[in-house]
Symmetry: C2
Subunit: 418 residues, 2 copies
Amino acid sequence: MEDQLGDQQRGENGGAEGKGDISADGSIRGFESLHRLLEANLKPQIFQEVSRLLLGLNCGRPLERLALPEPAASLAAKHDFDLQAFCFHADKELLRQPRIVRVGLIQNSISLPTTAHFADQKKAIVQKVKPMIDAAGASGVNVLCLQEAWMMPFAFCTREKRWCEFAEPIDGESTQFLQDLARKYNMVIVNSILERDVNHGEIIWNTAVIIGNYGNIIGIHRKNHIPRVGDFNESTYYMEGNTGHPVFETAYGKIAVNICYGRHHPLNWLAFGLNGAEIVFNPSATVGELSEPMWPIEARNAAIANSYFVGSINRVGTEVFPNPFTSGDGKPQHSDFGHFYGSSHFSAPDASCTPSLSRYRDGLMISDMDLNLCRQIKDKWGFRMTARYELYAAMLSEYLKPDFSPQVIVDPMLHKKP
Amino acid sequence: MEDQLGDQQRGENGGAEGKGDISADGSIRGFESLHRLLEANLKPQIFQEVSRLLLGLNCGRPLERLALPEPAASLAAKHDFDLQAFCFHADKELLRQPRIVRVGLIQNSISLPTTAHFADQKKAIVQKVKPMIDAAGASGVNVLCLQEAWMMPFAFCTREKRWCEFAEPIDGESTQFLQDLARKYNMVIVNSILERDVNHGEIIWNTAVIIGNYGNIIGIHRKNHIPRVGDFNESTYYMEGNTGHPVFETAYGKIAVNICYGRHHPLNWLAFGLNGAEIVFNPSATVGELSEPMWPIEARNAAIANSYFVGSINRVGTEVFPNPFTSGDGKPQHSDFGHFYGSSHFSAPDASCTPSLSRYRDGLMISDMDLNLCRQIKDKWGFRMTARYELYAAMLSEYLKPDFSPQVIVDPMLHKKP
């Protein structure tokens, strides 16, 4: 924990330069993102090539930075959040106009200590997120997604049920707050909440509420896959979702939401694709030691395999809870969940991606994307057409049987003596 | 093509240092791998951190280089192939011994021009691959995989059927050659061939033959997914495989083979996993402009999602054919397939991976891996247990129906005027 707080401090103090400090033991700490660390330490020409490789820009489509209107930059400077904006391109078509939408992702830390009154904690988070939504609105963002359970600390590590007080109905406090902003900015907003299902015995879900650009609620999706790993004791609080894999046809394209741990399940990504998604958001809360090596891989793979855009969001900072808890790893009790490493970014169907937002600071990531690219990549690679789903429908049906027998060919020489 | 030959030359002349040359237009060419480019251009401490991030070593398991016996290094120096060796670790268990196997991947260019007599072409490739197999044998490699259709040029870009002469039966020339070496080195060898199925009307398949460490043929797997993209006109030559997703239980663990384009299909990877694979090889032939951004992503994602090791192999060099052909991209006729960028590497279930072999030179990649890591990661992350396969079996069955209706929730405000 000392270490994580140290990380946080470094981020707050000197992280904006993103260069990384060499600490006493020779390791590099406090860099904002891999991209910025490389940018600060490589010659420009070498950086350009490395960046091209890491962002998957081999296909000849350069990644462009997007110029944002002045109010967005002012808000970022005033409220100290990371603001980055990029642009994905598609080919021009003869029979379809480009379908360029501007999409935004917001990552944030909590604002008050977790010991503060719950009502004050919510209010403080809303206050810090509001300027970021305003910056998105001022930038003309069409579709905006917030991080998983953004209006509360990610308290599921504690296994204490009192945090269920943060749960709210579909049309609760956070939805109402965002409905106003959706109307104001003519913006679709994905609101990720801890849901209390009052019509079904007060049960708890992990839910995304899709708010249309008129402020209307288009529908919901409930998290399909619930982790039981590390401090992610979410199965203590809510069960697997019962809403399938809905795709929401909005004014700005067909969107879906793969909540957090669902990103580890290729079939979950696939199902949203089969239902026609063009952008899939992955609002998450995940910590460094556990998942950071997977973070740049899974979203990009999903975008490639399913020919759609992915917007990945992770919260930032270290959240310390009032009562210490153990983590099932034999280590002493402690009071924090580890460092949420931010690093929100976009992935595209052509295997390119944007750099990531800061590992330490709140941030707004914006990207323009021509949704025509999805079909163009489908036509080019033909993954849907070559997928042989009939094989896998049959195999999964077999696999589900308790007496499933795997297709194993045993070397007959295996048990012979030499 | 000039460009690609230029690349090749740079690789041959100065690439071994891997530093990358800055060419007249300011771009960097001729570097051996991203890893070596970074190593040559970053301060050691920064490189260490960048390397840790790129290789996914956040989980606290450092990637170690493996010391190989002298004969292997001598062979690499004498025959000018890239030789790299690493070591993946697992936790110690109380009730199981470590199951450490040493696994090898070979990548190679062709040897003679494609205009040479076919028999001479095969002989010359065998001659250049033999010292690499000997180096693997001298290093105590237990399981070795060769690249896709290693004993022929990847001529499928031409759509000329005369290249079918390279096809051979399961127990043909290349298998016989490798059976001797399997016996000699007590090594399992995966032999990837263009197969002529003499018992079924002389039809052609793309097939992996699994040779046991006694030189016996354990079984075969035929490529499941056939590309129709770029110059990959493989569907002109062979059809989708009919051998399912077999896992081969060998003296050194349960292995499977996902051939080339099958790596773009998460369900293909999944099926090998459901059948119990611990190592899945992906012998490939793929070129830079088309797939290089995807190459570092898909294999690692498969290893993560399925809790097994992946060994990825791609051939190297530019293959020029006697008759020019067009590529369906409106560009003028040309005679080569583009640059096969090598970059063979291993991925592990804990999201770590090795650096890659050269983008230009033949190479042998070796890694020790404790297969116990597969089950340890399954127990930790529980992806199999949280996968809800019943949802996806049902969905795929529905999707296969011609009248499938995607789960789409349309914003009722969509067609209202503001």
